[in-house]
């Protein structure tokens, strides 16, 4: 339950807070998975639909697409930590 490496600096959460954090993390993972499916479909899948199977080019593209999405995810996390100390997106 530390998919993004969060949680390290929060030693004394109550069990309710832990459950809420776990739920929020699961929602994030689901959300990320759905975005991954959409993005890699857009970048890798031939929209002609001449056949129902994945061809070699599409399969390879998908594997690399997932790998690069994860790497992007890690990099963005690092950038946010560096850049965003105390950052507020300005919401009410």
């Amino acid at each position: 339950m530390s998919f993004l490496g969060f949680g390290g600096g929060q030693p004394q959460l109550s069990s309710t807070q832990k459950i809420q954090a776990a739920e929020a993390e699961l929602d994030l993972i689901t959300d990320m998975f759905n975005k991954l499916v959409d993005n890699c479909h857009q970048k890798c899948i031939n929209k002609q639909y001449n056949e129902g199977g994945l061809d070699k080019t599409e399969s390879n593209c998908l594997d690399r697409c997932v790998a690069k999405y994860f790497e992007t995810n890690v990099k963005v996390g690092e950038n946010m930590q560096q850049f965003g100390q105390g950052f507020q997106p300005g919401r009410q």
Binding site: S2, F3, I29, T30, F33, V37, Y49
Partner: protein, 72 residues
């Protein structure tokens, strides 16, 4: 959790309909799907399911690898 799976399945279903409709159906001179559109919808949905399955497998592998790197 069961309810969550239900919701995930329905979301997959609804996304699948939207995607294949959007990609395959572009002729609105008739209110019935043409044979060409039907064939496209069928291949599109088969391909989308295989696509989701493959992305899901890779996702789990990457997730597991990342968990290991974090040392848990």
């Amino acid at each position: 959790v069961e309810q969550k799976q239900m919701k995930d399945f329905m979301r997959l279903y609804s996304n699948l309909v939207e995607r294949c409709f959007s990609d395959c159906v572009n002729d609105f001179t008739s209110s019935k799907l043409s044979n060409k559109e039907l064939s496209c919808v069928q291949k599109c949905s088969e391909k989308f399911l295989k696509h989701s399955e493959r992305v899901g497998q890779r996702f789990q592998e990457q997730n597991a690898a990342m968990a290991q790197n974090l040392g848990r």
